[in-house]
Amino acid sequence: MPPRPVISFERVSKTHGALRALDGLSLAVQEREFLAVVGPSGSGKTTLLRLVNRLTEASEGVVRVAGEDVRAVDPIGLRRRIGYVFQNIGLFPHMTVAENIAITPRLLAWDKGTIAARVDELIGLVRLDRARHRDRFPHQLSGGERQRVGVARALAAKPRIVLMDEPFGALDPLTRDALGRDYRGLHDELGLTTVMITHDTLEALLLADRIVVIRDGRIIADGTPHALMREDRDPYVRELMQMPRRQAERLRDLTIGPPP
């Protein structure tokens, strides 16, 4: 018997007027899976993510979280159970780092002591410095530090599911790499189920257990990084994998010399 999916899309369509963002898409995300969703801009990636915590409602089809049709679940409670890391970070500029991290526990009415302890724990978890960062405001942080806070905020209420919308896109390559690896560590350590949208194929290949390629609201490829790097039936997927492959070959040439 296959394991029960944590998130599933069953023939889901989403239309915005004449525009069809998703077109009868079906997808199941397994527990503890790290799924990366790649595709060109406008392919429906963000819509897919927003359907999970009901920031958007499906036009057709069913979205399930932990087996339940999300339309039957209170969206507010649903969102508090699911961590969300936003594309443009979206920290509350008038709140300190600690207050930003504490927001969902506060909404869930945890008691103050528990929240404070949890905030300290998370600051450590995302490798920020408690003394230096706890009472800073977002505008006083670097881009990388800010997104670390964004990750900490998403994890604060101990969600089982984390949704990430191009979380590291705006960061410099070094910071992006460090944050990506740190997050992957947290994902494994905390036993999370993660859906991450990215337009960086290399990032997807290096971080995810499984990659889904979306184009025009449909899945055109779905497999492990290993599988996608090898089989290339679809011309777009082929092209998508071409660049990291070329880079890898070039790097290999640089480090161990060209193949004989």
Partner: protein, 522 residues
């Protein structure tokens, strides 16, 4: 304190009253404006159509000049008061506080509304998205994210509104609301520049203080320093309490004396007040009331007593454009006032303050002008100056048609500036007043009115309907009836233009009382 200019001393003596009323009216209006604007701004965040309508309306209000807006509320409330009197059996005073608060409230709407809307709609969409994404309800997003982020901009709007309202409240004087504007209006009328300056500085300081205290609250909210916010609120409360305490603790005056917007009226109001004080009656003055406002104020018991002129009522109320002998006009006016408005005419003071056309003596002689009939020939080459009312009054229409007058130019000015303007040759003819001391001072000659186109203007003491059966008030004022001839009033008016310490209306009124007393002794 010795050596203090008596005008400064007088200004300081009036400060508690003027400042208290000013703070009361402007802070009430500001509070109402904020209380009204914020919910409207909130309701319009997600309704662009409503937002457009509301902002357009508030902008239109803002384009109405402050004085006009204040003036418009008076007839509006008068109508409402009459309606409520008919329907509910109880009216309210359309004078003073109510119209001033309403007009100033309207005035405060735009800055608060515009800033609140800008602050609430200008929030980064990513932040709004995050608020929903972390699991806030709409209400929680509003209270925890949108409002705190919009707050600095909202506060900036409140500060703008506060400065506007405190400044504009000085214009509430002509509709009967005491304010720091009383200094300015009175000073302008009696050429007391110390008063004008005092009023301006006091209003500016008040605006500055309120603005700075609000700024303190704003910065405290921004930096989330509770102490700073508390300090700002404490300061504002102290300003309000400090300004209002004397007003509350002072006993209500038994009688209210009205005065129009020119110097002679300030003197007569001071004179009436001193008579009442001498008779042991408490009295307060409401000065600078518009000519149209003051009779309504008396008829609706907003004030108890003031001095008007028979010709004014004859022309404006009885709608007569002919002239008649003094006694006839006086009788007709008194009868009309009693029958139509319930106003009692106690008697005439003994002098006339008629409109008269006057010219510099030398110019009149050079042109060979002695009467208005002579003037008609030369008028097309001449310029005439009158006060703000004159050219729209029926008397002017009557003179013009009787003599076929057509001037090259006509200019409206503050009466105080008319006479020097004529003496300097800026204008050739002025619509002067016969009790005006400056006619002689500037060597003007009053032109004859052979066709009797100008009605008589006897100064008469009028009492409000509610004082119809009162004994103390008429008893205290009766000694003034017939006691002031035109020579005395002219000299009194001239004294008031002196600009020195003995030129205040109070000093001149004391001087008149002494003169009357010494005459009776003879």
């Amino acid at each position: 304190m010795t050596g203090l200019d008596p005008r400064v001393a007088e200004a300081l003596a009036r400060l508690p009253d003027y400042l208290g009323s000013h703070v009361l009216v402007s802070m009430t209006a500001l509070a109402l404006g904020v209380a009204l604007s914020l919910p409207v701004a909130l309701a319009s965040i997600r309704r662009p159509a409503l937002r457009a309508v509301v902002l357009a309306l508030a902008s239109i209000v803002q384009t109405i000049p402050g004085l006009a807006l204040l003036a418009l509320f008076y007839p509006l409330l008068l109508g409402l008061s009459a309606l409520s009197e008919r329907v509910l059996g109880a009216g309210f005073s359309a004078l003073g506080f109510l119209p001033a608060v309403l007009a100033l409230t309207l005035y405060s709407l735009l800055p608060v509304l515009r800033n609140a809307v800008a602050g609430l709609t200008g929030i980064d969409p990513a932040v709004n998205e995050a608020a929903l994404g972390v699991g806030m309800t709409r209400r929680q997003a509003l209270w925890m994210v949108e409002l705190p982020l919009a707050l600095p901009i909202v506060m900036a709007g409140i500060r703008t509104a506060a400065v506007w309202v405190v400044g504009t409240a000085t214009l509430a004087t002509p509709i009967g609301q005491t304010s720091l504007g009383n200094y300015i209006f009175a000073g302008l009328q009696t050429q007391n520049w110390v008063f004008v300056l005092f009023g301006c500085v006091a209003a500016a300081l008040l605006a500055l203080a309120v603005d700075q205290l609000l700024a303190l609250i704003e910065s405290g909210l921004g930096a989330r320093r509770r102490a700073r916010v508390a300090l700002g609120i404490l300061g504002l409360s102290l300003v309000c309490l400090g300004a209002l305490a004397p007003t509350w603790s002072r006993p209500q005056a038994r009688y209210v004396i009205g005065a129009k917007t020119f110097g002679e009226q300030y003197i007569l109001a001071a004179l009436i007040e001193q008579r009442l004080r001498d008779a042991g009656l408490s009295a307060a003055r409401r000065e600078g009331l518009g000519s149209g406002v003051i009779l309504e104020a008396l008829a609706t018991n907003g004030i108890d007593v003031y001095v008007d002129y028979t010709g004014t009522i004859w022309a404006n109320q009885l709608q007569r454009d002919d002239a008649a002998p003094r006694a006839e006009v006086l009788a007709a006016v008194a009868k009309w006032l009693q029958e139509r408005r319930g106003i009692k005419t106690l008697g005439d003071l003994g002098f006339e303050n008629a409109y008269a056309l006057a010219m510099p003596r030398r110019r009149a002689e050079a042109l060979g002008i002695r009467s208005i009939a002579d003037l008609a020939r030369a008028a097309p080459q001449l310029a005439i100056a009158g006060d703000y009312e004159f050219f729209s009054r029926p008397e002017w229409a009557a003179i013009r048609s009787a003599y076929g007058l057509a001037f090259r130019a006509q200019r409206q000015m503050q009466p105080e500036f008319m006479y020097p303007a004529a003496a300097a040759g800026d204008v050739d003819v002025v619509a002067a007043y016969t009790s005006e001391g400056r006619v002689a001072q500037y060597d003007l000659v009053v032109l004859d009115d052979p066709k009797h186109a100008i009605p008589p203007y006897d100064a008469i003491l009028l009492l409000a309907p509610r004082d119809a059966n009162d004994r103390a008030l008429p008893d205290a004022l009766r000694p003034l009836v017939g006691a002031i001839d035109v020579a005395l009033m002219r000299e009194a008016n001239l004294r008031a233009t002196g600009g020195g310490g003995d030129s205040s209306p109070e000093a001149v009124a004391r001087w008149i009382l002494e003169k009357i007393g010494s005459r009776k002794d003879k």
